[in-house]
């Protein structure tokens, strides 16, 4: 979004114009939803994370100084929310189900999602299950760093800034994520043409 337009929208929102915020949501939601979907791996949680990021922006709009663009602020917030969400999910799975650690697939995972889009259906099936299971083995930070670098093609320097980490730490997370994925998906690689 154009910087001038963004500033004008921010002014309108601060003056209490809700339609200004709706315009901001409309401009950023497609990419924010996609990012959240990649980070957490499912649509419902992605929508919750994106919504929470927008609500936080709205609540703090008076304090938003504009040091970074709204997009950067939203992606950074969504990324941090995703890390919290992934940590909670991992802990919950470990405590209540022991399913992830036993590496047993939930039979429901193989039932096609009737609400799935064509893109999702394309990746449905065993390969997708394997990849998602491998991704679930990563720590929250490893997953987020890998997703931001591999899928979002965000430079490590920017990832480090977004997560408030040293660049060296981010490099280590990326390397460990890649090592785990290589280990878990080794046979898929050998089977692929």
């Amino acid at each position: 979004m154009d910087t001038c337009l963004e500033k004008a929208l921010l002014t309108r929102i601060r003056e209490g114009d809700d339609s200004g915020f709706e315009a901001l949501v409309a401009a950023h939601s497609p990419r924010l939803l996609s990012l959240a979907w990649r980070l957490v791996g499912n649509r419902e949680d992605a929508e919750e994370i994106a919504q929470e990021a927008f609500l936080r922006l709205h609540r703090g709009i008076d304090d938003f100084r504009g040091d970074s663009s709204v997009a950067t602020w939203l992606y950074r917030t969504a990324t941090r929310l995703a890390i919290d969400h992934l940590r909670r999910r991992k802990l919950r799975d470990q405590i209540f189900f022991f399913r992830r650690s036993n590496e047993e697939a939930d039979p429901l995972d193989f039932v096609p999602d009737p609400a799935a889009s064509p893109g999702e259906r394309f990746f449905a099936g065993e390969v997708r299950q394997r990849i998602e299971r491998a991704m679930q083995r990563l720590s929250a930070r490893q997953r987020v760093v890998f997703t931001l670098r591999h899928h979002e093609e965000m430079p490590l320097r920017e990832i480090a800034a977004a997560l408030g980490l040293e660049e060296g730490t981010v490099k280590a997370h990326l390397h460990r994520a890649v090592r785990i994925l290589r280990q878990d998906l080794k046979d898929l690689r050998e089977e692929s043409p």
Binding site: D18, A46, E120, H150, L174, H175, L181, R189
Partner: protein, 159 residues
């Protein structure tokens, strides 16, 4: 045998950073040169890339309708909900009811033993009924009433 400076590159982490273009330009060039003479690293890099290529990069699809519906939901969540039901007066009456319930619970005597019926099934049922209500259950009820009061306080309708 490789020179010591080149051995640094025979490390998977360097190859990961090389793949993603995250080495600084000088190291990138050095690793490129190293790869020309190191078959093990070339093989390692090829395997690394083969794995990463499996991972989908396709944009997750949210249809325009889904995005629109999401945007509307965000818009709705910004507007404060009207709380006609939970008015302060209503909150006070709820609190008063809870207090009366508490008093009744605390002052009602525990039921005494009853006469046993002749039938086996009936006798069993009446025995269960005639058991004095355990103190724990009474306390649970008390706690529930306290929880209700705390909830009322939390929603800001008790004051």
């Amino acid at each position: 045998m490789s020179k010591p400076s080149e051995d640094v590159f025979c490390h998977p982490e360097s190859l990961t950073l090389f793949h993603y273009g995250e080495l600084d330009p000088a190291d990138h060039l050095r690793l490129e040169k190293h790869l020309q003479g190191c078959a093990a690293c070339r093989r390692e890099l090829a395997q690394l890339r083969a794995t990463l290529e499996i991972l989908p990069k396709v944009e997750p699809e949210f249809s325009p309708e889904e995005v629109r519906s999401f945007n509307e939901r965000v818009g709705r969540s910004l507007r404060p909900k009207q709380r006609h039901f939970f008015r302060p007066a209503y909150g006070w009456s709820l609190a008063a009811t809870a207090a009366v319930l508490l008093m009744v619970t605390l002052h009602s005597p525990a039921p005494g033993p009853r006469e046993k019926s002749p039938g086996v099934a009936l006798r069993t049922a009446s025995e269960i009924e005639s058991l004095p209500e355990p103190e724990l259950l009474l306390n649970m009820e008390l706690l529930e009433n306290l929880d209700l009061l705390q909830e009322l306080e939390g929603t800001g309708i008790s004051g």
